[in-house]
């Protein structure tokens, strides 16, 4: 079907399609190629060089030295470990939580449904800076509300320095990341659950299936594409966690992540300040991990 018009198209017609097609593509392509594709290749190229901020001379090609160094870089490996901890914890919890919220609200009346959807989306809209600033105060070890609340509940006796304690700080960051991550999945799940074929659900109910069976046997397979999409975007977002780290701990208290490390290496590290090549090598490694994880998720989802 799709190929038929192509074959019957005359050469002149095809040429017109080409010209018109590219004319319409042109404005977008200029920006896409100029500010996404070119930097992408620059990133790969720079990761193979000793490019840095101060040298105006052309960088030297040094092969995979940056990547070899990365493997031996304790700080980078620590950041990688933290990044994986964040991804491994936040991706499943975000997915499960948003699926639960969505299935609890998707049948509600429209104004109530919108209200809930908006509220869970608010932390995203508020913006990472405003969110971080307020959470920093809430975590404060002198007059933060969280310490007061926990003391009031009798759970702790002394104020905890949440952001200053290695082992605790990263969990504080995961919590904030969680609140800013569930908004979009909830919106997606609500619409996916609303699109589930009702006749199948009713047929199953008539046959005596209980709620759990209806959910896992009928709804779950139908919302699988949405789940897959959510897994991928949540993974990408969790890998890119940066603003929270920069504004809350600056990588202290064992909360360093790869994205923060990239920024630190490129702009802040004192002894080898502005080591762009090395920072880009980290970026390439990060992109490879994301690509692998996305591919694995696709494979798993398809098998099921």
């Amino acid at each position: 079907m799709a190929k038929q018009p192509k074959q019957s198209m005359s050469r002149a017609l095809q040429r017109r399609e080409n010209i018109n097609g590219y004319l319409f593509m042109l404005p977008s392509l200029i920006f896409f190629v100029g500010f996404v594709i070119i930097p992408m290749f620059m990133c790969i190229f720079m990761s193979l060089t000793d490019a840095n901020m101060r040298d105006q001379a052309l960088p030297h090609f040094i092969g995979i030295k940056n990547f070899v160094d990365l493997w031996k870089d304790e700080d980078f490996l620590g950041a990688l470990k933290n990044t994986f901890l964040i991804v491994v914890v936040s991706v499943p919890t975000v997915c499960a939580f948003s699926l639960w919220v969505a299935s609890a609200i998707y049948k509600l009346k429209s104004p109530v449904l919108s209200a809930f959807r908006c509220i869970f989306y608010l932390p995203v809209v508020t913006g990472s800076v405003a969110v971080t600033v307020v959470w920093k105060w809430m975590y404060d070890n002198y007059n933060g509300i969280l310490n007061t609340a926990l003391k009031g509940a009798g759970l702790i006796e002394k104020n905890i320095n949440f952001l200053g304690t290695p082992g605790i700080a990263i969990w504080c960051i995961i919590i904030i990341l969680f609140t800013t991550s569930v908004g979009q999945p909830i919106v997606l799940y609500v619409s996916a659950l609303g699109n589930v074929d009702q006749s199948l659900v009713e047929a199953a109910e008539v046959d005596g299936a209980n709620h759990m069976q209806v959910f896992w046997k009928i709804k779950w397979p139908q919302i699988m594409p949405t789940t897959l999409y959510i897994l991928v975007i949540t993974t990408i977002n969790s890998f890119q966690c940066f603003a929270l780290i920069q504004l809350l701990t600056s990588g202290g208290s064992d909360t360093d992540t790869v994205m923060f490390r990239i920024y630190w290496t490129a702009f802040k590290l004192t002894e080898q300040q502005g080591h762009f090549g090395y920072a880009n090598a980290m970026g390439v490694v990060l992109a490879i991990f994301i690509a692998i994880l996305s591919a694995v998720q696709f494979r798993l989802a398809r098998e099921k």
Partner: protein, 309 residues
């Protein structure tokens, strides 16, 4: 069925209660920003947190506005930075000096609006072409777009900075706008919407002798309008909140966005919580209002983007 429905009802009540509690928890940071912004100093530094301001004051905003100043606007001669020795632009019109926060808001609104308009125009055109024009190389371009979307956007920031330096656009609001427009999500979204344009209408327009551009503006745009609305609000919010890119690209006080300005103040005065809450309120309330007004389109945009994800 009867026995079951009693159980279901109990489950429903419990889940609504949990949902309401969760919703309150999600709302709390925002509540804390807004009340904190108006609390007097003794409330803010109280050992026991004060849940409701004992007195509503605007002192925090005064302190925020006094902190830094900047001209309200600076209009540069286009491309003038290419010709000056230190690459700084030549201004032909400079506004009155105001609290820097106002300038930051002006910058942020300008950035978000321009990025939104450019994205909508370019993406609507490209999406239409990808969906309806059978040009050579169309599949390759589309796969490139999908691949780019799956990549971490922040990873390309360093090369992007180098590129902007070469273009002499560094520390210029356009350096934040262009990459936002280039991000291919919009094209992807508009392609999904454009698929639904009936081919017969386009054919009929062509037979009637309508030019390509006229067909696009009079037939295509009205059909894909919901998509454009969704994309507009989506781009506006994302660009407003893209802190990392703003941090990398913008470096001088008068070019800051509101998010960047607040983050800088935070680094300077990390103990003056009242001032920071006032800043956070200023940075977040406008965008929250925009979101609440247009949230219908926004929801649609997120959902449509995932259809073929």
């Amino acid at each position: 069925m009867k026995i079951n429905s009693g159980r279901t009802k109990a489950y429903k009540v419990i889940s609504i209660v949990i949902l309401v509690i969760l919703a309150l928890l999600f709302l709390f940071p925002l509540y804390w920003i807004v009340t904190g912004a108006f609390k007097p100093a003794q409330d803010i530094y109280a050992q026991e947190p004060v849940w409701w301001p004992t007195e509503w004051v605007t002192k925090n905003f005064d302190a925020l506005f006094k902190k830094r100043t900047a001209p309200l606007w600076e209009l540069a001669v286009p491309f003038s930075s290419y010709f000056t020795a230190d690459n700084s632009p030549v201004f032909f019109s400079v506004g009155p000096t105001v609290p820097a926060a106002f300038r930051w808001l002006v910058n942020t609104v300008f950035m978000a609006v321009v990025a939104m308009i450019l994205t909508c125009i370019t993406a609507a055109m490209a999406g239409y072409a990808l969906a309806k024009k059978r040009f050579v190389g169309r599949t390759i371009i589309f796969s490139l777009i999908v691949c780019a979307m799956a990549l971490p956007k922040q990873v390309i920031l360093i090369p992007l900075l180098k590129e902007m330096a070469a273009l002499k656009l560094i520390n210029n609001i356009w350096s934040v706008i262009f990459p936002t427009v280039g991000w291919p999500f919009g094209v992807f979204l508009m392609k999904q919407f454009s698929e639904s344009i009936p081919g017969e209408i386009l054919e009929a327009a062509r037979v009637d002798g309508s030019s390509e551009l006229r067909t696009f503006t009079t037939i295509v745009v009205p059909i894909v309008k919901p998509g454009i609305g969704a994309l507009a609000i989506f781009t506006f919010i994302n660009s407003w909140n893209d802190y990392f890119m703003q941090l990398i690209m913008l470096s001088s006080n008068s070019n800051f966005t509101i998010a960047l300005g607040i983050a800088t103040l935070q680094a300077e005065t990390s103990i003056d919580m009242g001032l920071l809450m006032a800043g956070a309120a200023l940075a977040s309330i406008p965008i929250i209002v925009v979101f609440l007004v247009f949230q219908k389109y926004f929801t649609q945009g997120i959902t449509m983007g995932a259809v073929k994800g």
